[in-house]
């Protein structure tokens, strides 16, 4: 892999054993071009494809119809289904059923990208603001469209909550508009920053292990092990937070305030 060569370069450059930001670098495997558009197959694309294949494989081939008592893998799939389905039901209600496949897709995709990132030598797709912002913006767009389709121009009423004194309205409308339009930013930055910070931290500690060597490296190694556990938790938690916020935004669009 190209990244291994780069790692060696950094060693020889030698101020720090491993550049903590190096893991986020995009490397192109195949240069591709579609009508002037650069669509090269990169490590990011590779891990997206891997996660799509894994999710499809898990959710199709591990589910057997006649199984009254599901296998372990099938229970895992059913558990994810029930988990997201409960999330949608509790946060959006019956009307959310229509959007369940989309929300399930978002959850599984983000979850798998986060978890795949926890494997050594892998690449964390969600540590790139471009990807997380695109996801968040897609959700923002969809939720806004749903709001306008459901309420027509009445959806603008979302920015002027009922029961507010008239003299407060100008200020409140401004606040509501800003908070509405910063949603994709907060949604994407939360995921991206969490993933990037965690992975950077892990890399920094692994650098300490290397530079302190056999004598002093044990302490940072211990910290790293503990931190890896925490990162796995965060990988799940951020996928959950991302999805539940999607549900909440969708609920706002469907039911206003």
């Amino acid at each position: 892999m190209a990244s291994a060569d780069n790692l060696d370069d950094h060693h020889s450059a030698g101020s720090f054993p491993a550049d903590p930001m190096h893991q986020f670098e995009i490397s192109r495997y195949f240069e591709l071009n579609l009508g002037g558009l650069d669509i090269s197959f990169t490590n990011s694309a590779l891990f997206m494809v891997i996660s799509v294949i894994l999710i499809s494989f898990f959710s199709i081939f591990f589910v057997r119809k006649q199984a009254l008592v599901p296998s372990r893998m099938q229970s895992l799939v059913e558990l994810s289904y029930e988990f997201v389905s409960n999330m949608v039901r509790q946060n959006v209600g019956q009307e959310g059923k229509k959007y369940f496949p989309f929300i399930f897709t978002i959850f599984m995709f983000v979850l798998f990208l986060n978890m795949l990132g926890m494997m050594p030598y892998s690449f964390t797709v969600t540590s790139h603001i471009a990807v997380t912002f695109a996801l968040a913006f897609l959700i923002f767009l969809l939720v806004t469209i749903v709001g306008f389709v459901k309420h027509g121009f009445g959806f603008f009423g979302y920015f002027a909550p009922k029961g507010v004194p008239v003299f407060m309205l100008p200020l409140l409308v401004v606040i509501e508009v800003i908070s509405y339009f910063t949603r994709p930013i907060s949604l994407s930055v939360r995921l991206f920053a969490n993933m990037m910070a965690g992975h950077t931290m892990l890399k920094v500690f692994s650098g300490f292990v290397l530079s302190l060597g056999f004598v002093g490296g044990w302490l940072p190694l211990g910290v790293m092990v503990a931190f890896t556990g925490l990162e796995i938790l965060i990988a799940f938690l951020q996928a959950y937070v991302f999805t539940i916020l999607t549900c909440i935004y969708l609920n706002d669009s469907l039911h206003m305030h």
């Binding site: 986020f24 995009i26 990169t42 990011s44 799509v52 496949p101 897709t105 797709v125 790139h128 603001i129």
Partner: protein
């Protein structure tokens, strides 16, 4: 920071769009309907089984109740039979005893009669013997002959 390298944005976004659309289609058209079918089917089976189990347990309860009432009947009938038999045997015993007592009293009165008869005869014989003896004695003592008629009269007076 590699995240701010804008030249990598387009390929990332292209593949993101491709992967996400593909995944959405696969999940919404194939995987999710199957999973929901499986879960629903299982829930149906479970509720069916539970209903069946409930019906069976009701039936079992009914059978147990029937059995209990039968047992109760059998117990009371056997109690009754026992009482009847006891009464019967008691009756037999008392009738036997009555018969026996009747026989015994008959025997007793018969023997008493016999004894009385014997006693009277014995007494009569004894008095006759006494008279005979007295006659002999007196005949031997007296020179003069004693008339038997006088002695009979004497004995009657004695008595």
């Amino acid at each position: 920071m590699p995240q701010l390298d804008f030249t990598t944005f387009i390929p990332q976004l292209f593949w993101l769009f491709l992967c996400l659309s593909f995944l959405y289609i696969v999940l919404s058209k194939i995987a999710l309907p199957r999973i929901s079918d499986v879960i629903e089917e299982r829930n149906d089976t479970i509720t069916d089984d539970l209903d069946e189990a409930k019906a069976l347990s009701l039936e079992a309860e009914k059978v147990v109740d029937e059995l209990k009432s039968k047992l109760e009947d059998a117990r009371s009938s056997s109690q009754k039979k026992l009482m009847d038999e006891r009464q019967k045997s008691l009756d037999i015993v008392s009738s036997e005893r009555k018969k026996f007592e009747k026989n015994i009293s008959k025997e007793i009165s018969l023997s008493e009669e016999k004894i009385n008869k014997g006693k009277v005869e014995a007494l009569k014989e004894a008095s006759e013997l006494a008279i005979d003896i007295a006659e002999e004695i007196i005949n031997n003592l007296y020179v003069k002959k004693v008339d038997k008629k006088d002695l009979n009269k004497f004995s009657k007076d004695l008595n």
